[in-house]
Structures are given as structure tokens and as C-alpha cells.
């Protein structure tokens, strides 16, 4: 563990915290452009966070301490996740503390706390949202694990930095197994981050909400933390996708500060491409009924399994 690695770790964690609201803002802009609307400013989500932090939080009378603790737990889990994923560099000291399976576990922990908090006050929408979120979660989690398994089999490691380094140093070529998993991963990303076609982040119709329904009772700094955590989750998923399927241009362990600085513009370009791609999918698809969502996620799981079989059978 060198000083440079620690610097990489700190830089990328802070970068994730700052870039996450911007990434959400850029996705909103892309979506607006694709829908022929005037786009809101890039910084709107960030301004929203600042505004919410300054407001006085209102907590329902029937809320238990768990309700107030949950935003901190969820936010903490997302920040920890951002520290594991190779966003700028692969020399992450924290990367040994949690591998890809533990990363999935961290996401699950965050989800469980969001759902428990949603059930805490005992409103109809909160429990409805919790039920749906857990349903989507238990379908998305095995698919995500299968995706991770493909990458682990290729690089014989479950640590994300090691996987990324291995994939980045391979000769450029098409891996059919990775192609299948990339499609599966895109589907899981849409489902896990409450995007169309599974959920709509911009909806104001309570009955169709999943993620937003769980946050209805939050306000002030608690809501800000929840929103920031959601933005971080989307950002994390984008970065996992980049790390697995486009792992070039990262600062490797001990490569020096110049590589770290050079990795920032590369990351920004890749993130812009991801945002554009995701918004295009969102613009082109319609929201599915809740009970069609399992089919969508089962398809993602099967694609990932196909990738796994291709890897085991053909070694490709």
C-alpha cells in the first residue's frame, strides 16, 4: 500500500461523491434533449441537494429511530461501494476489503435499509414500495452475481481491481461471454436504479412508483442523503459497467500521479457515453407493468447464464 494508492483511493471516492449528482443531471439533460424538451441545468440535482441539506427535516410522529438512521446507513453503504469499484485507478487499498460479491452484499444492505425505513411509518405507499423494491431486488441480485461470475472466471479473481486489471491487459477482441453479460448488466442497471422500463424516476403517480414511493416521508437532510445515495448508486453501476466492459485508461497501481490525472478525462468521456446510451434506452422504451418486470429480469439472468456457459464451454 503506497502513498500513491492511498491518494488514488481518496481522489476517486471524493470524485464519486461529486460526480454522482452531475451524472444524474447529465442523464436528465440527455433525456430532455431526446424528448425535444429544453434541458434543465446540469447542476440541478446538486442544487437540490444543497437546498435539502439546508431545510429543516420533518419526521412523522410514528417514526422509530430506524427511520432516522436508515439514510446514514444507505449513504454509507453507497460510499463504501464507490471506494471498491475501480473508477479512476486499480490500486485501491480498500479493494482488498471487499470483492465483487461483497459489493453485491453492500447493495443488498442498502436496499434492505431503504425498505425497512419505508415500512417504519406504516403508510400504504411506503409498504407498497418496499414490497416491490424487494421483489425487483431478489430478481436482480442473482443476475448481477452471474455477471460477476463470468468476469471472475475470465480473470480467476473476485476482486474488482484484479478483474479490471486483467480485462484491461487482454488483447483487444470480442469475448462472446462478455457481450452477453454486457447486455444483461445493462438490463440489471436499469432495474436496480429505478429507470424506465422498470420504474420511472420522474413519475408523480404514486401507484406506479417503486423507489420514489419509499422516500415519500423523507424530507430535509434525510431526503438529501437518500437522493445522493440513489445518485451514487447509479454512478456506481455506470462505473462497474465501465470497469468490466471498457476497462481502458485507468491508473494502475503505482503508475504515478500523471496517470491518475489522465484517467479523469477518460472517465468523463466514458460516463457521458454511458449516460447517453442509458437515456436513449429510456427514451425508446415504455414502462412495463410491475408484473412484467420479473420477465425482464429473468431475461437478464438467462443472458448472464448464457455468458457463463459460453465461457465454460468455449473458453471464450
Amino acid at each position: 500500500m503506497s502513498a500513491f494508492d492511498i491518494a488514488t483511493q481518496l481522489t476517486q471516492t471524493v470524485a464519486a461523491l461529486l460526480l454522482a449528482p452531475l451524472f444524474t443531471g447529465f442523464m436528465n439533460q440527455c433525456r430532455a434533449w431526446l424528448q425535444n424538451r429544453r434541458a434543465p441545468a446540469l447542476l440541478v440535482p446538486a442544487w437540490n441537494l444543497r437546498k435539502l441539506f439546508a431545510r429543516q427535516p420533518v419526521v412523522a410522529t410514528g417514526a422509530s429511530p430506524l427511520f432516522r438512521a436508515a439514510p446514514y446507513a444507505v449513504f454509507g453503504a453507497m460510499v463504501a461501494a464507490a471506494a471498491i469499484i475501480p473508477i479512476l485507478g486499480t490500486g485501491l487499498p480498500f479493494g482488498t476489503a471487499a470483492d465483487a460479491i461483497a459489493l453485491i452484499g453492500l447493495f443488498a444492505t442498502a436496499r434492505v435499509f431503504v425498505c425497512l425505513a419505508a415500512m417504519d411509518i406504516g403508510t400504504a405507499f411506503g409498504t407498497l414500495g418496499a414490497r416491490r423494491e424487494m421483489m425487483l431486488g431478489f430478481l436482480a441480485e442473482p443476475a448481477l452475481l452471474m455477471i460477476v461470475f463470468v468476469a471472475s472466471l475470465i480473470s480467476s479473481s473476485t476482486g474488482l481491481p484484479a478483474i479490471t486489471e486483467n480485462l484491461a491487459t487482454r488483447t483487444l477482441g470480442l469475448y462472446p461471454s462478455l457481450a452477453f453479460t454486457a447486455v444483461a448488466f445493462t438490463m440489471v442497471t436499469l432495474a436496480e436504479n429505478a429507470r424506465i422500463p422498470i420504474d420511472n424516476p420522474a413519475t408523480h403517480l404514486e401507484l406506479t412508483m417503486v423507489h420514489e414511493a419509499m422516500l415519500l416521508e423523507y424530507s430535509g437532510r434525510h431526503l438529501a442523503l437518500m437522493e445522493w445515495a440513489a445518485a451514487l448508486k447509479l454512478f456506481n453501476f455506470a462505473c462497474i459497467g465501465i470497469a468490466l466492459f471498457a476497462p481502458w485508461g485507468l491508473a494502475t497501481a503505482g503508475s504515478g500521479p500523471l496517470a491518475l490525472i489522465a484517467s479523469v478525462p477518460v472517465l468523463l468521456v466514458k460516463l457521458a457515453a454511458v449516460a447517453a446510451g442509458l437515456s436513449l434506452i429510456e427514451a425508446l422504451s415504455a414502462k412495463l407493468r410491475v408484473f412484467r418486470a420479473p420477465e425482464f429480469l429473468a431475461a437478464a439472468f438467462l443472458l448472464a447464464v448464457l455468458g457463463l456457459l459460453v465461457r465454460v464451454l468455449l473458453g471464450a
Binding site: 412523522a60 452484499g105 425497512l116 406504516g122 418496499a130 461470475f149 481491481p161
Partner: protein, 681 residues
Amino acid sequence: MTAPILKPLPLCLLAVALWGLIGLAGLLRPRSHRLAGALYPLGAACALLLAAAAARALALPLAPERAVLPVGLPDLPVHLRLDALAAGFLVLLGAAAAGISVFAAGYFGPHAPPGAASGAARAPQGTPPGLLCLQYHLFLASMALVFLADDAYAFMLAWEVMALSSYFLVTAEHGSASIRAAGFLYLLMAHVGALSILLAFGVMQGGTWRFTFDAMRGAHLAAWPASVAFLLALAGFGAKAGLVPLHVWLPEAHPAAPSPVSALMSGVMLKTAVYGMLRVSFDLLQASTWWWGLVPLTLGLLSALYGVVFAAVQTDMKRLLAWSSIENIGIIFTALGLALVFRGAGLPAAAALALVALLYHCLNHACMKSLVFLGTGAVLHATGERSLARLGGLIHRMPQVAWLTLVGALALAGLPPLNGFVSEWLLLQSFLFAHSVPHTFVNMLLPLGAGLIALAAALAAYVMVKFFGVVFLGRPRDAVAAQAHEAGPAERLGLAWLAALCLVLGVLPSAVIGVLDLIVHQLAGVALQGSQSRWWLLAPVPGRAASYSAVVMLAALAGVTLLTVLATRTAARPVRRARAWACGGTEPTARMQDTAEGFGQPIRHLFSDFFSITVEAPGPSDREPRYRVHVADRLWERLYLPAGSAVQRAADRLAFLQQGRIAAYLLYSFLTLVMLLALVL
């Protein structure tokens, strides 16, 4: 030299004997709750003594200690042996039983918290507390002897005492017909299983007609008798463990028992079956064939999925936990199957990893399932209610029980940094070796097993959110929940002990695996390398960058949370309390919340092939609309009812033998004797 009495085996026997004496002491005044309440803490002290003695046996990895007790039939003394495997399971028994016994002191004792409903936990026509105390301690002692037995007679004797004492504990509230029915089903399945185990021992003695385990180890069976013995043992121990399709008794019997007994049965008794399987397949049967592992692997995956799906649709909190036990047993048997496949395929390092996952999950499940079962006991004590439809909001009325139970629920959901995640992580890591198994199709299908395990784990999180959310969060759905009270100090102490164990097992996996390695070394002949290199980092697989450190993760989570709290505090304005917003509607009532049925609805919808569902929906003109869903187990209709009626038909056919005349029966005896003579001569 230590005195012979201070060696681990005599200390274990001392604990067992003391348990027997404590139980007998309960009979002095069988109707006294005060005496029973005083005896359970003594039982907890014995449990700690047992755990300490067994841990000492693990700390001094010497040759297995043996003893021969000259009791029982002439020429059939009781052989006892304390090796690493037995010691590991004795530690599990002692550690879990200590917490459960402390809780039981409050649950069965005189300081039952005041309140209108507290009498409901003690049925009027129940077993008197002194007798219950005897049965409870006999149950503990017999489980310890199962782990210590070194010959088939002693094993079966302890096994039967365990089955019978737990039968009486299950039917403690024998005033209710449904509890008697559950007890009968349990007794029946326990004996079908015991018969199968007995037959397995019969095959394993291999013509030597000596039933000590040493004789079986030296029997060198050919491939097919060994396979027969393995399958018989799997059927017998599987019936005890609740492996699908032999699971039907478990969701009936575990909820019927008083909560501390449910905790013991789910947490510890199921592990005796796992112990038996390990003993038979890794110790007594020296030879092995690679396909053996596929049977427990398939059944384990099926059980994991089946159990968790059924747990998700339950409306009774103890029944929900019982189904969740089937899921966990499924995970354990999956690990067993994987270890056997790896051993058969010549991958000892992978087999060792799967075995570590298995043992770790046994320990975890003993702690977390006992913890959650005791949590339901505290709720039951405070409200007298088991149905999820009438609970809710208990985190306000009994906060300490709620937070301690939350630890167990999160652990059962397999979330880091708690203990349930560690064993799942180890199991998934061992699944990554599956592609190197040298059998086509098997190596392709095995990674799918990892997908199923992940699905089961994710569903377990669903189940636990439902359990905790409906019982402890939200608004009270009924007056009994609104008037609940915090559990007594003994009950909270028992819960806290088990919650602390969950935390320790979750945060210090390397230290635990260092101890489990000794057991794995005894079973598989190899140990994991590199697991103890750094105490804070778990990196069990040499040559693969795979590591997990719960300490660092917990520290990072705590650090980030603390920083966030501090950062938001500086500009913070105090929280204002107001009515729930609920989208601007009227003040929400308890009936607006999701019910347990509602929360399980997506699962009912998605896995409808698993269930046979009867819905009772209200008509448009009903004055008092009622909506009820009944979910039943299809295997019961498809497998057990036909089997039951086949037995009935066979019995009807043979009824002509029953003439009711003494001459006919004498004739039968005579014919039997003649046949036996013809056979012998």
C-alpha cells in the same frame, strides 16, 4: 500433566451429567415456576462449561480422546470419542444453548412480565414447568451424546432420546389438537428417519457384525454397498434435517413448540443431522464415489429455494422462521454436496473450502436462527400473538428486543458485515471452482447452483424484511400489539448473548476459520492455506485475488456514517415532528398498511407452481367482507397423502390376518419359527 478430570472429554461428560441432574431437580417441585426459573441459568452455566471444554479440545489438537462407559447391555458398553468434528459441534451446542437457557429462565420462569396476554404463552393444559425442565435438559444432554457417541448403539440411543424428549417438548401445550397432530407427524418422521439410519449402520458394519465406529472405518466396503449406505444415511439424516421432500414435519413441529425449544430445534437439533452426514460420508465411509455429492447438492438447492419461497408467503411468524430453517438446511446440504463432488473429482482444496463454508453456516445458523426464534418468543410473551396479521409497531413498545432481533434478521438475510454473509461468501467462492470438475455437464450445471444460492439469499432478504417490517415496524395492527411491553432482563440477556455471537462471527471470520480448519483437516485431509495470514483479512483461496475483510468494511461504514452525521450536524436544524404526510391524505390507519399476505403476494404470483392456493374473496354484497388466502404445500398432496392412503390400503388388505382368535396367532408364531429354523439350518 493436567489431572484426568480436567481433560476435555471428562469435562464434557460432567456437563452432560449435570444437565441430567438439573433436569431431575426440576421434578422436586414440578409445578413451581420459581424452581424452574432458577434451574435454567444453571443449565446455561453447564452449556458454557461444555463449550469451553470442547473449545479446549479444539485448541489442543491431539489425538482424539476416547472413553468406554460400562453401562447399557452386557458386552455392549458405550463408546465415546471426542475428536475435532465432535468438538466443533459441541461448541456450537454449548454456545447456542447458553443463550437459549438464559432466555428460557425468563420465558418459563416466575418473572413472566405482567400483562393480560402473558398467560397465553403458557397454555392452561400444558406440561408443568418442572417436567418441562427435565425434558429440556434431557434434550440438551442427548444432543451432546449424539456428538460424542462412537458406536452405533450409543448413537441410536442418544438419537432416540433426542427425538422423544423433543417430541414431548413440542407437545408441551398438548391441550390443543393441532399441536398434538404436529407432534405425531414429527414423531412419525423422526422414526422413519431413525429406521433409515439404523439400516445405514447395518450396511456399514460390512459383515464384521461389530457396531463400533472404528469397525466401520475399517470395513472397506465395495462401491455399491457404500453407495447404499450413503443414500440410506442421507434419507435418515435428511428427514431429521428437514431436507425437501422429507421436510413436512418441520413447519408444523417447530412453531408448535415453546419458543426456546423452537430455537434449540432449529438452531441446534437440525445440526445433529448435518453432523451425522459429515460423520458418515467423510469419516465412516472411507471410499467415496464422485456422483454421491450430486444427490445432496440437488436436494439442497431444491430445499433452499423451496424453503425460502414458502417462508415468504407465511402469515405466522414462527412458521415463517421454520420454513427459513429449511432454506438454511438446503444451503448447508448444498455445501456438503459440493464438498463431496470436489473430493470425488480430486480437488481437495476446493472440498476444504466448501467444508469450511458448511461448518461456518452451521455455526451462523445456530446463532442467528436461535436469536430470531427467541425474538419471536419475546413477542409472543408480550402479546400472546403469533399471527403477523395482528402485530406491528413493536419497535416502539419493546425497542431492545426489536434491535437485537434486527441483528439476527439482517444476519439471516445474508448482509455484510454480519455473519450470514461470510458463509454465503465462502460458498459462492467454492462454487467458482466448479468449472474444473472433470465431468462435462456437471461442470456446466454447477455454476447455475451459485445462481440458485444467490436467488435463495436474495429471497431470504425479502423474507426478513417482511418478518421484521410486519412485526416490529409500522403501526400496531391490533390492541394486543399496542399494549405490548419490553421483555424481562433474562430474556434480553439471552438475546444479547446470541446477537453478540452473530457480530463476532461476522466480524472476525479469519479467527473462526482458523479453528474450523482443524475440523476440515480431520475430514478432508487438507486445510485451507493462507487464511490466517492476517487476522483482519479473509483470503481463503491461494492463487486467487479474492478477499473480504469485515473489520475494514465495518470501520469504513462506521467512519463514513460518522463523518456524514458530523457534516450534517454543523448546519443542522432540529428535527420537527409532524403527522405522517402520506401524500396529503388523512392520517393513515393501521389497516392501510400492507399485510403479511400482501407482502407475500409477488412471491405467490411468481412461484405459483410451487403452491396450491385457495383464495376466499368477498362478494360485492357481503356485509363483512373477508379476504383469506390459504397456501398449501403441493408435496403434501402429491407425495404424502398418496403414500398415506397406500399404507392404509395395504393395511386393509392384510386385515384378514387379524382373526382375533388365539389359535391363529399361535399358528403365525409357529410358522415364523419354522421359517427361521429353515433359514438358519
